[in-house]
């Protein structure tokens, strides 16, 4: 079977032939391979991209290949967190070779002209797609968020395919770039109470695990979800499963009714989620009942509102010395947290507010044998620590202050 479905425009052919440099050629080769695999007929322009950079060796190999080959991003392309090298090296011994990989990754993304957002929620401030835009967004919360909440069009990209698309300014037309492929596959009847953003992480975890790969349509949600609740649902459902898109009819943009979400199809599958299922997920997430050695918040990166909540809970109190508390966020949110006084309140209580940092990085090596407490099942899943306790923010803060949850 010879692959002939993908038709390339003249400039695209030239890129593939190396006329625009070795970096652009490599990026084009990857996009053509993906287009071929999916029988795409053509490439389409994208307006922006988000590369889920990670500070891993594979990530370094590809971004250096493009940077050394003279490639530059043609459309705004933001980056995922690695870690704040200066901040962590002041406090811990980070393995030298791993630190070197992180430094080189950050340097190479700068060379290709990426937006150095180092944030996993770039769709909130640094790189915001509009409704109907075609984009290439990798990263677990970013892909479903821009598809479902914003109504932009992206496939479930890898860091490298998103970066390649950012370099070329195009992506093969397949999958979720086509309207018919964006209809629901599974109906989820939600009768769970969904009190707060933590319940949305549990819901996301359950839906991802149960649906696996597909487009769930969640009916029965009574209260409009908040930004943070949606972020949490996205991050979790695309970690425990591969959920690139979903519909909350009436709340997300592409469907106001269940019928519209399925584009007239009859749902193949129906699942019910009650408080019992969410309790089950919660219990399954705890790997220990031991006391926490540290608290890690901000996976995905906390918003300004969430940092404000942490400050409110810590105001005038003191974090135990044997249970450090960390809040990971974006540089933009941190700037506003500084101005709003939140950072000062948290730091006065003994907590850390760090930017550019992901929970899955070698900078956390000091906690390898420890019990970590977090409000993020995703953080617990990728944990760089021994045992995990997953709980609501309030309980995490109480654990850091009192050594007790309530």
């Amino acid at each position: 079977m010879v692959n002939k479905s993908l038709h390339l425009a003249r400039e695209e052919e030239q890129m593939l032939n190396g006329e625009f440099g070795a970096g652009a050629q490599k990026a084009m080769e990857l996009l053509v391979a993906i287009g071929d695999a999916y029988d795409a007929e053509k490439m389409i322009p994208i307006s922006r991209a988000h590369a889920a950079s990670s500070g891993q060796e594979g990530d370094l190999y590809f971004v250096e290949l493009l940077a050394d080959g003279g490639a530059k991003c043609r459309v705004p392309t933001s980056t995922n967190p690695v870690y704040d090298i200066k901040y962590f090296h002041r406090l811990f011994d980070v393995p030298k070779d791993e630190a070197e990989v992180a430094r080189k990754v950050m340097e190479a993304y700068k060379r290709v002209g990426a937006i150095l957002s180092w944030s996993c929620v770039p769709y909130l401030s640094e790189n915001i797609p509009l409704y109907g835009e075609h984009v290439a967004f990798s990263e677990s919360s970013a892909t479903p968020y821009v598809n479902s909440v914003i109504g932009a069009y992206t496939n479930r990209e890898a860091a490298q395919s998103a970066l390649a698309a950012g370099i070329i300014g195009k992506t093969p037309k397949y999958g979720l770039h086509i309207k018919e492929n964006r209809k629901g596959t599974t109906l989820i009847d939600v009768s769970a109470s969904l009190r707060d953003e933590f319940d949305y992480t549990l819901l996301g975890h359950y839906v991802g695990k149960t649906v696996g790969y597909g487009i769930p349509v969640l009916a029965g949600i009574r209260k409009p979800p908040t930004t943070e609740e949606l972020i949490n649902f996205c991050a979790m459902s695309n970690t425990s499963g591969a959920i690139s898109m979903f519909h909350f009819p009436g709340y997300t943009v592409e469907a106001s009714t269940v019928k519209e979400a399925f584009q007239g199809d009859v749902p193949k599958e129906k699942i019910t989620v009650t408080d019992k299922e969410l309790r089950g997920v919660y219990e399954e997430l705890q790997t220990t009942s031991e006391k926490a050695d540290f608290v890690q918040l901000g996976c995905p990166h906390y918003t300004l509102k969430q940092i404000g909540k942490v400050a409110e809970l810590l105001n005038g109190r003191k974090i135990r010395e044997d249970c450090p508390l960390w809040v990971c966020t974006s540089a933009t949110a941190k700037l506003l947290a500084d101005k709003s006084g939140y950072t000062r309140t948290i730091e006065k209580a003994g907590g850390h507010v760090v930017v550019d940092t992901c929970i899955d990085e070698p900078c956390w090596a000091a906690y390898k044998q420890k019990v970590g407490m977090t409000d993020s099942p995703k953080g617990a899943y990728y944990r760089r620590f021994k045992e995990a306790r997953v709980a609501r923010l309030q309980e995490c803060v109480e654990a850091a202050v009192n050594g007790k949850e309530r």
Binding site: M1, V2, N3, E29, L30, A33, I34, D36, A37, Y38, A52, S54, Q56, E57, G58, D59, Y61, F62, S138, S140, N155, R156, E157, A158, A159, Q160, S161, T239, A242, D360
Partner: protein
């Protein structure tokens, strides 16, 4: 007996080796990067070595970062599979194979799980869209019969 089957190229190149069949999806992050041995305890290939094999499996699994890093690490130790034959592709598996430079094909004209058995000698010529299978494998359901009919071409 030798069979030549048409296939669909995803990542080009040529690779040959002994076939290893997995009926379950594979996450390369869950193999030992220094040996190629599958360390996912519940996997049907647990304890087996995927390096330098022609790996036949339904699809990839797991998040993009770990999957790509997993295959890339195997490749940097020269322990990646020689080629991969799959039934369903997704973007992450394509990127993984691209980065590790492992030929990847799908859409074999016959069900790969029926025509290839563990231990068969398989040549994957992705550039020309052809897979050649020489049956040796004992685990193959039709292998026994093929010894008797022994029609080579």
């Amino acid at each position: 007996m030798k069979t030549i089957l048409k296939c669909h190229r995803i990542i080009g190149g040529y690779g040959e080796g002994e076939a290893l069949i997995s009926h379950e999806p594979i996450c390369f992050y869950l193999t030992d990067p220094k040996t190629g041995i599958v360390r996912e305890k519940t996997h049907e290939l647990a304890g087996q070595n995927i390096s330098n094999k022609v790996l036949v499996f339904p699809s990839g699994k797991a998040s993009s970062v770990v999957q790509i890093d997993g295959l890339f690490k195997l490749a940097s130790h020269n322990l990646a599979p020689k080629a991969m034959i799959v039934k369903d592709v997704e973007t992450v598996l394509i990127v993984s194979a691209f980065m590790a430079k492992v030929p990847l094909v799908d859409r074999l004209e016959k069900d790969p799980f029926k025509v290839i058995g563990t231990g068969d000698m398989v040549r994957v010529d992705a550039d020309n869209g052809a897979v050649t299978v020489e049956r040796h494998g004992l685990q193959h359901s039709h292998a026994k019969a093929s010894h008797y009919t022994a029609q080579s071409f």
